[in-house]
Symmetry: C2
Subunit: 131 residues, 2 copies
């Protein structure tokens, strides 16, 4: 399923419980953030430590367990954890030795969000068939 | 579990398969995007249609089925679908009549992302114990 309108685009990524890395920026023509769905198989690490020039990263762990290295700290992360890493944070993520790690990662330029939800949303007059 | 460092914050949201709405902006002190985990119970709709002043919204459906109203179009959305809605899009989401709908929603100011991944990332010299 793919749908495209003047103000939207919808795609199907597939089985969210088992798909590999899906990078949404290009497919959805994103302009405010990059969003990816990621899986590290058991025992696998991102093979390098990195920082960012401008982007804050926000992670939500969807399933599994793993480890986060951040600025010299190392600790376990698991399903249901969420975390923010500032651009300068030196980071690396590894899946657990016996557990894969599935997570969503958002990249957005730090300090660009001016408002959200009530302070950015506006009511609209149109109605769906069910309201 | 909650961990706070100079360049990061980690929290546990709980059971990602069953938790209600979790809004991460304030908890994680986000500055580039708002990220929320949401569940609409079966038959329940967001009770209004809305647009945004500045924010692009990016959704990833984690489980279940539902319906999206967008600019007069209506169609089914389901687990594994991802979509972008531009600020001016008039939108409303409803869970299916017999299925809840669990999704992640990202709000980020449209046209603020300058680069991502390879064009924003930088290698760092530090190493975790496992590399």
């Amino acid at each position: 399923m793919e749908k495209l309108g003047q103000n939207y685009k919808v795609i199907s990524c597939g089985d969210i419980q088992s798909l590999g890395r899906v990078v949404l920026h290009d497919t959805l023509a994103l302009t405010g953030a990059e969003v990816s769905v990621n899986e590290l198989p058991a025992g696998v690490s991102v093979p390098f430590v990195h920082t960012h020039k401008n982007n804050e990263e926000i992670y939500v762990v969807l399933s599994g367990k793993g480890f986060l290295f951040i600025d010299g700290d190392e600790f376990e992360i698991k399903e249901g954890d969420a975390f923010r890493i500032d651009p300068k944070g030196e980071r690396c993520i590894k899946a657990g030795d016996t557990s894969s790690l599935r997570f969503i990662c958002v990249q957005a330029k730090a300090n660009t969000l001016e408002g959200f939800t009530e302070t950015d949303g506006l009511p609209a007059a149109s109605k769906p068939s069910w309201l």
